[in-house]
Symmetry: D3
Subunit: 334 residues, 6 copies
Amino acid sequence: MSKVLTFGEIMLRLSTSPGTHFSNIVSFQAHYGGAEANVAVNLANFGYDVAFASKVPDNALGLSVKRHLQKYGVNTKPLLLGGNRLGTYYLDSGVGERSSAVIYDRANSSFASVQEMEWDFEQLFENVDILHLSGITPALSEKLAEISLRLVKEAKKRDIKVSFDINFRSKLWNHDQASRTLAKILPYVDYCSAGKMDAIYLLGIPENQTEQDDTDYYYQKMHEKYNNIEVFYSTKREVHSATSNSLQGTLWKDGKTYVSKVHKLEPIIDRVGGGDAFSAGILHGLVTGADLNYTVSFASAYSGLKHTIYGDCNPFAIRDVENLMENGSAKINR
Amino acid sequence: MSKVLTFGEIMLRLSTSPGTHFSNIVSFQAHYGGAEANVAVNLANFGYDVAFASKVPDNALGLSVKRHLQKYGVNTKPLLLGGNRLGTYYLDSGVGERSSAVIYDRANSSFASVQEMEWDFEQLFENVDILHLSGITPALSEKLAEISLRLVKEAKKRDIKVSFDINFRSKLWNHDQASRTLAKILPYVDYCSAGKMDAIYLLGIPENQTEQDDTDYYYQKMHEKYNNIEVFYSTKREVHSATSNSLQGTLWKDGKTYVSKVHKLEPIIDRVGGGDAFSAGILHGLVTGADLNYTVSFASAYSGLKHTIYGDCNPFAIRDVENLMENGSAKINR
Amino acid sequence: MSKVLTFGEIMLRLSTSPGTHFSNIVSFQAHYGGAEANVAVNLANFGYDVAFASKVPDNALGLSVKRHLQKYGVNTKPLLLGGNRLGTYYLDSGVGERSSAVIYDRANSSFASVQEMEWDFEQLFENVDILHLSGITPALSEKLAEISLRLVKEAKKRDIKVSFDINFRSKLWNHDQASRTLAKILPYVDYCSAGKMDAIYLLGIPENQTEQDDTDYYYQKMHEKYNNIEVFYSTKREVHSATSNSLQGTLWKDGKTYVSKVHKLEPIIDRVGGGDAFSAGILHGLVTGADLNYTVSFASAYSGLKHTIYGDCNPFAIRDVENLMENGSAKINR
Amino acid sequence: MSKVLTFGEIMLRLSTSPGTHFSNIVSFQAHYGGAEANVAVNLANFGYDVAFASKVPDNALGLSVKRHLQKYGVNTKPLLLGGNRLGTYYLDSGVGERSSAVIYDRANSSFASVQEMEWDFEQLFENVDILHLSGITPALSEKLAEISLRLVKEAKKRDIKVSFDINFRSKLWNHDQASRTLAKILPYVDYCSAGKMDAIYLLGIPENQTEQDDTDYYYQKMHEKYNNIEVFYSTKREVHSATSNSLQGTLWKDGKTYVSKVHKLEPIIDRVGGGDAFSAGILHGLVTGADLNYTVSFASAYSGLKHTIYGDCNPFAIRDVENLMENGSAKINR
Amino acid sequence: MSKVLTFGEIMLRLSTSPGTHFSNIVSFQAHYGGAEANVAVNLANFGYDVAFASKVPDNALGLSVKRHLQKYGVNTKPLLLGGNRLGTYYLDSGVGERSSAVIYDRANSSFASVQEMEWDFEQLFENVDILHLSGITPALSEKLAEISLRLVKEAKKRDIKVSFDINFRSKLWNHDQASRTLAKILPYVDYCSAGKMDAIYLLGIPENQTEQDDTDYYYQKMHEKYNNIEVFYSTKREVHSATSNSLQGTLWKDGKTYVSKVHKLEPIIDRVGGGDAFSAGILHGLVTGADLNYTVSFASAYSGLKHTIYGDCNPFAIRDVENLMENGSAKINR
Amino acid sequence: MSKVLTFGEIMLRLSTSPGTHFSNIVSFQAHYGGAEANVAVNLANFGYDVAFASKVPDNALGLSVKRHLQKYGVNTKPLLLGGNRLGTYYLDSGVGERSSAVIYDRANSSFASVQEMEWDFEQLFENVDILHLSGITPALSEKLAEISLRLVKEAKKRDIKVSFDINFRSKLWNHDQASRTLAKILPYVDYCSAGKMDAIYLLGIPENQTEQDDTDYYYQKMHEKYNNIEVFYSTKREVHSATSNSLQGTLWKDGKTYVSKVHKLEPIIDRVGGGDAFSAGILHGLVTGADLNYTVSFASAYSGLKHTIYGDCNPFAIRDVENLMENGSAKINR
């Protein structure tokens, strides 16, 4: 199977139990996650040979991150040990009308403090078919924006496909900063996850005044701007409550938009990582050359499964997704 | 900010975990609550200077109650230590079609056994702006009915606003007993939480045969009977199942009824204390002289938040309510 | 009250917590259950004198099974201690779109390995009014199919009513094997739980091409084939998701079908044992000679209650069911 | 095997987890226990036909008590349902230097409020060989002291052996009250658990000024006073800390004292019920006519096992005790 | 009672459960603590009017800290809300031969980043009798060293007693840095917790070559150097294993050393905060003018109690300590 | 670093929480382990390239095993997926006088049912330096005894060191069966873990009648019998109670015995896997050519660490062991 490299930050997530206020908890649930790390784990669960490049402190927390990744078969050779601290974030789990809330405590982490290119390009890219990163990485520091740019350039030099999820985080940077950096990176990208808001606020696409369907319109316009990008994809999420959403996947290629069925996600156990699961599902479809309707359906079903599990990463394998696609939730198999 | 005094019983609540039968539990979840104590905690969370007057045993349980109240900033100087036992109740948490059930074990508690006025009026009422109590307190004993009456009279003497939540509990007294006592207390009340059933069965209002809206009718009639009461309020709850309700707040003043939007509460984590949260929200609106539409909306949203948290009291602050009122549950802020 | 005997396998069930993947669990929830054991517990909770005949290993697990049954008042004299192991199964608890999954590890259990009739008929049947077993028992081994047949014959000899739940399990046997065995057992049965699929695939009833209602048609046809069977019953379940179902009970007697209201089961805590609860409810109605509309309603409500509790057996008593039938989930009683 | 009847109160015990202060707990561990109920469970675990007579409220708590007793095979026919409440006590679990502490909340329980003899003597005593009760029962009320006396008298009339554990509780009565009541009961007792403090403060035995061993002296003197009592027994406990004790059993019969080895109990999981386990062990030895050295060793080992388990009752069977007596704790059997 | 002010950092502590490796945990136990915050809580538990001055972020974590302190009655008016993050540390709980380990993640916290004196002296010191701080505060930053010095000077100006616990932390500063700062602060101190290592490495006392007892020698020499310091105190801890220690308190005043009995601490639930408990106990003795033998015994017993409870602070009250001093761990009081 | 291959069974272990009886548990703690799998994990934690060859079912349990091994970096390429079931065992955790007990439920597992050599020798042994297996593997079936013998022969052919831990399990085979099989395997072994009981009962060494030290005598005699075995090693365990042991490691090479200090293991969290940890520590010393005193001390310390952690495998790394060897448990590093 294909070999994949992802590059980004992985954090410790400390979350409350549903129905318990921060000031009343006696313990925090602990998970490890980050956009690129999640994609790495998810693709490893599909059987790919995936390496995750990052940096975590050389202590018990760093070791825990390493074991978390290894558990799912992710290659941790490019996971450097060193620096000051592990990035952390707190998740206050929402219920019904009360939405989830995140408190970031990720500044000055070992990864965000990287001051030079500490990874060797030759080793990193050996036999790699796809490089995946997200907009979170260049948002972390000037230096990481620079390294991200070098990575996508080096990947292109080696004919490696570049997958990029825009993943805008307003707590990390603003629209202007993001736009400037994205304008440098996107010319090297092959597959891009971007939605309507990204198109308008980060890529400068004018709002849709036509009668064309929004999805078609924005994908088309983004492609016109960056015609190096072969495939666009994203999820449309209708939020009924913190624990009930509808989710539909869309994918654009060669001027045509493919959409999945609408998944009713209720109750939602944990939506963090739902987008990363969708990205992993799309990449799986693309590298296997699967039918694009199947691809978008597979990715959506896989994203749906993520919402039924605590934690940022999606422990399910291809057969679990196919089982859901075929049988739905109709019965206990016994 | 205003200074508030509440007076009533606080109990230990022992509840089962959802999905577990009483006879199969290995532990009970422990919370502390009572109508007036909950209002005290809720108003303290809004920043008010709130004191709670009651009596609990001078042992580890009494100390736990005291610390529970202090945690949220409630002034516990008028919380007396002494007597025999802490009132207790068991909550069997309902799910779906199966409703929650309560087993009271509150008889002979330190508070219910109070035999004389053990609090000093001067100290109790020093600088107080509002006195809040509920119909549960006079229901506990003849003596407490007498003390409740003295308290509202003393409050009125001092130009303190009196807030009273009828809160009828059929396991504590019957309609006749309640009616007789309420008839003595209500003439001293300024703000009163009462609904249609209270109007008919406790205040002797004839059933609505007119074409007038029920809410308007009963509020109007109650006001006609007790025109000292400036404000009436209550929630209307439609129960779809133990874990799914719709809730709407209403408030009446100067001949006009104000209603909030209908909140869809699903899943309900814990509905106990939902009414007390609504009362606290209304009092907050009234003492700040807020717009009455805002007031009823704020109180309803605050009551809605309560349903997302285990325990009788509502740990959220004003900014959490306003955040819900502005943004709904639409997204994770990150 | 009547005396009941049930015969079958009881297993240890190891289940994951909702929202947690098998590979990430740190503990399994432990419950004990099996179709006939569940019916025994349920009927004991109604106050019947119920004995459960089976075999479990003579070790701490066997003792735990015995205590589980005794807890609810089931007579464990015919629960033999011996053999190699306790049958086990793993339950991966589904959520929303993701359905539950079962991994059986029941082969070679003490019960499935029974090689001869180890119970004494005279003792087993002393004063018994009803014998209940399900299609799982004869599916476990040739020997158990033979013993099942002897049991129903011996029961009939003694004028004991025979209740039989077809309970087809595709992981234990196939349609052909089941059909052959059922053809021998059903002539001795008085009350039978069977649905459309059972009718078509196991009893050889042709698919309904008529305009008659499916329920009526299949019950009628099954009765035509086995006119010794007085009563047929089963539940119709519409599966919206793993945690949301609609359930309706049906019962046929003397050419007439009786149906319960449709119960909305949401959220479902645990649906395992829902069918056994329905069977117990039906048997209760039949032995008390209750009205058949009441009977099917009682059984459906009792089955609904089961879905609100973890574990295979239904801890509720008659008054809990009647409480649900009268009051619904409308309010907390306090 | 012999048939046994015990009579007394059973309570809900709510305990903290070790290392957690009352004011910081989020849940209480729940167990059910009481001196006579524990002896009943323990003897049932040895295979005896044991009935427990008491009274608990007719609600979910009473049902839970009933199921707790049934689980171990105790006959609950004489467990009446009715009255106001279930007696409760809180246990603050000690660690090391900090001792455990108990808060009783047992006043006005259904059992303590019994006002007349609600059990039928003929039914109670049918085929009974031994009646066991403890000094806690007559301490609960004048009425229960009277009923206790009638029970031992009726037992003697029927040639039933009477076993009585003095079990003095200073929170229930004082030395004078206890002495007066014991003086009436002890003339009907055959087997009595009493120690040095009981002898001096409750039975009026002068302190040992002789050179005789204390154990011999007090047993001898008590026997001189009540020569109807055939057997005396008790444990000597040296308390090194809340979690480390040494325990030795002693038994006196026919002028001779038998002692067990000293058991080192460390760490102690839960010492509540350790005395009841010893009593059950002694009764087992006496009714089987076992060697008295064996009897006191068996009872001590069984009491030791109790200290390794949470809760008031001792779930182990005869073979577990014999296993400990033969092999000690030396190795894992695998 | 006296009024106390403490000043320092409070952190979130995330700890593993005993017996679980960092890389295998699914949740972290959460507690809040810090040397000066712990002393504040402990003194509040004795009934003192204690205020804690510090700074925490204005988010759910800061609110949780505030509620933690309020729970025990600590006045949080001087607890500022603002800045970037809450200091955090991870505690890997040791067992037996394996010692506990701490990973600090406290850099850049809201408190450590304080850049100017944000508290008003007049308000801070109003009616204060004692100011307590530890060497951790000046170790956090140059600025906090400066503020610490100003605080002790301002306190002396107002005739407020200054209590200072040297509390050297090698992960925060080295011997040289600490010595220089201490040399400025100690001239303003009245009560000082310092041991042999502090004397040698931080205060420049030559090692004891005399025949004098070490404790006497170092206290004497430190007093010679800083004769403004009236009272020295510290604990001597013999570590048998991570879960078994012996602890003895010592106190020096007017040329005389007072020692407590040796407490055997086994098993140790959590030793963090044991020194802060000792400090609080000593301060209680000093401000009440208690006998110095009593004072050192009280402080040691109180420190011993801390080791029996999870978390940094000591929830026990004066009567709990006196109970331990009088009765030891000998029995359950019931 | 060296490359290691281990071969054996890995099982799911279901254990009770300390202090809870089997019949009262609501959940089982889940761990995965087996002698050879544990050695594999332990050596991977030291940084070796370790592969584990075995067979587990192709379901969620097999996947969980695979992820368990991967987590620690074990290469799972030779872990085959297939067959019927995962071997299981129940562990009743002992406390104090009550020893732990194991119930095996491992018969008919995927591994034990292997009927032919399903692994390819060339792939298995590629670059391997050490093969490790234990006497449990040949005890599982005739076929596995045969495969074990082939493996050691093939290893010797390739100049691979063979490490063998006798690990006699009386529940799997008897002395005669074991002796016969060991007699075939031991001639191919280089490093062997065997103790006095093994020497006498399995290797036919006459009991020591000489004045020689037992350890020296038996190692010497075993070496005389199998002079191909270069190194013998084992632990001597003195069992004070289930939760308190003393443990000393011994190692023999070239006629000389090396012993570690005696480790006091108290409290023991979990002793399962303690021997496997010792083996891993010895192998680490041998392959690095470390000093033999260091080697036996390292292995003993590493085994000691295992006893402080739940589960069969030892999560600690070389630096943790060295930290314990240097510092003991004396203090918290902060």
